[in-house]
């Protein structure tokens, strides 16, 4: 884990529309000549100045010509932005044993969720490592599950292997990929007012992490009050045929701008939210990643998910490394930067950028247990120079999640 993950950084790479850090791994697939997938909104993005880049096998907008990444980030914090997140893997799980099956492959207490409620969870492997993070929404007749586009292939292979085993033992469960809907996120402090205007009614009673079906200007949607920016907002599942029209309805509001992957990355980092493949991977457990809260009390006690023994042991005996937030002086610390304490190498940065909201450099990374407490003074090495850094509680920017 301490190995430097430093990526090729040059102006030359920055100018070849390289969405540097966050998609570096996703890029390799594109480089081999793989045809990029397009969301239904692809042409709409291009028409609206979207600068398209390869991301996890998809052609996605990193930013739009009317706003730079920093300006788009701040717009989202002050107003509202639309993000196309249709590249993410959406699945529907049916069958009467669906909760039991999903509890065998994730750490979530799905049993305890009320219909309409969602939770952040993780798929774990036998060693307790995180295969992917995911949002599980409990619906009347099914589970609606969204996970990362970049992990789609391995997630499906993993889930299907366990599904088959489960079915062979007589379990009643089935999985379908949802490919007839697009997922559009509307995020920001003005998102609710914008959506309420279109829905024609108040959404105050829709709590954070809850979802419901509704008709918006004649379009049948599923609206979940969730997101990846730290702001109030919604992730709206819209039939493919209505996706462009729906997006136009949102954008017609002067409080709304289009935003791309660039702002999405800096927004989620300020919000202290992990990016899979960077801030967590299959060698890191949810305990180490600071996601212990995703494991319900019952699940901690009962286990019954992959890697439970390892995770229960860590809950009891502690971990050797932990995810932390850092505010770094001087040059921004990026993924791979090494973290020191009194000259001793104790960890590395997994994500970092200059925070557009704070005008300070924020980062997250992993350090040796014991050096993870807020206020701990550490050093981060950037281009051979050690810079002061302070362990800082996340989110870096106060969350704007809606409370009922």
């Amino acid at each position: 884990m301490l190995a430097s993950l430093r990526f090729a950084r040059s102006l030359a790479s920055a100018t070849s529309s390289n969405f540097a850090r966050s998609s570096q791994r996703a890029y390799s697939a594109a480089a081999t000549g793989e045809v990029l997938k397009k969301t239904v909104l692809h042409d709409y993005h291009v028409e609206n100045g979207g600068k398209m880049v390869p991301f996890a096998g998809w052609s996605m907008p990193v930013q739009y010509s009317n706003l730079g990444v920093g300006a788009s980030h701040l717009w989202t914090r002050q107003n509202a932005s639309v993000f196309d997140v249709s590249h993410m893997l959406a699945t529907r799980i049916t069958g009467k044993d669906r909760v039991k099956f999903y509890e065998s492959i994730t750490v979530a207490d799905i049993e305890a969720l009320k219909v309409g409620q969602s939770t952040l969870s993780v798929f774990t492997n036998e060693n307790g490592g995180i295969i992917d993070d995911t949002i599980i929404c409990k619906q009347e007749d099914s589970l609606y599950v969204v996970s990362n586009a970049g992990c789609a292939d391995k997630d499906l292979a993993h889930i299907r292997a366990h599904l088959k085993e489960f079915q062979n033992k007589g379990g009643d469960v089935d999985l379908k990929i949802i490919d007839d809907h697009q997922l559009i996120a509307l995020q920001g402090p003005k998102a609710a007012a914008v959506l309420e205007g279109l829905v024609g009614k108040d959404l105050r009673d829709l709590p954070f992490m809850d979802g419901r079906s509704m008709t918006i200007k004649g379009i049948e949607c599923h609206v979940a009050r969730s997101g990846y920016t730290g702001e109030d907002g919604f992730e709206i599942s819209v039939p493919n045929g209505d996706a462009v029209e729906f997006t136009k309805l949102l954008i017609a509001d002067p409080r709304v701008e289009l935003a791309g992957l660039g702002a999405r990355d800096s927004l989620r980092l300020e919000a202290g939210l992990c990016l899979y493949g960077h801030d967590m991977d299959d060698t890191i457990t949810p305990i180490e990643a600071g996601l212990t809260w995703t494991i319900g009390k019952r699940r901690r006690a009962e286990g019954g998910f992959l890697g439970a023994a390892k995770i229960q042991d860590q809950l009891k005996n502690g971990v050797s490394k932990r995810r932390i937030g850092l505010i770094v002086q001087g040059a921004p610390a990026r993924e791979g930067a090494l973290i020191y304490s009194n000259g001793e190498l104790i960890g590395n940065v997994t994500s970092g950028c200059p925070s557009p909201s704070l005008k300070k450099n924020v980062a997250m990374g992993y350090v040796k247990n014991g050096l993870h407490k807020s206020g701990t003074e550490l050093e981060v090495e950037v281009r051979g120079r050690k810079q002061k850094a302070v362990v800082t509680k996340m989110p870096f920017v106060p969350a704007g999640y809606h409370k009922v």
């Binding site: 030359a12 100018t15 990444v69 921004p332 200059p354």
Partner: protein, 155 residues
Amino acid sequence: MSLSAFSARLFPTMRQQAVARLAAPSSTFARFYTTKYTQEHEWVKIEDGVATVGITNHAQEALGEIVFVEAAELKDIEKGETIGSVESVKAASDIYAPITGTVIEVNQVLGDEPGLLNTACETDGWLCKIQVKDQSEFNELLSAEDYARFCEESH
């Protein structure tokens, strides 16, 4: 250190183009009119054996808002060596020495105003000045036309 401002001071505006055309490439005058480029998206101008280095407009556009500039150290450098960095929210990009020599001055203004690279990267937003060791290295750099072609081809 604006090229156009400089030449305007030397020559009456109306005569500028004619003089430029008449000046042979090897003449003293040519120095004031020649900017060379690198494939790393830097521009270099030479005047009295001192190279002024900056990033190109193409580079600043690709980077977006620049929020941090790490200045070069005042020391001897080899062509190709990393001599600093410019950073936007989304990426950090190293600056490579386009020419061998000694860094004798860095643009201090960029420390407080990195955004100058977005508004004036080819003029007031210069990065550093290098006392050139071997001027023939300068001649090997890309001409404006070659650089424009390079940018087009690499897209």
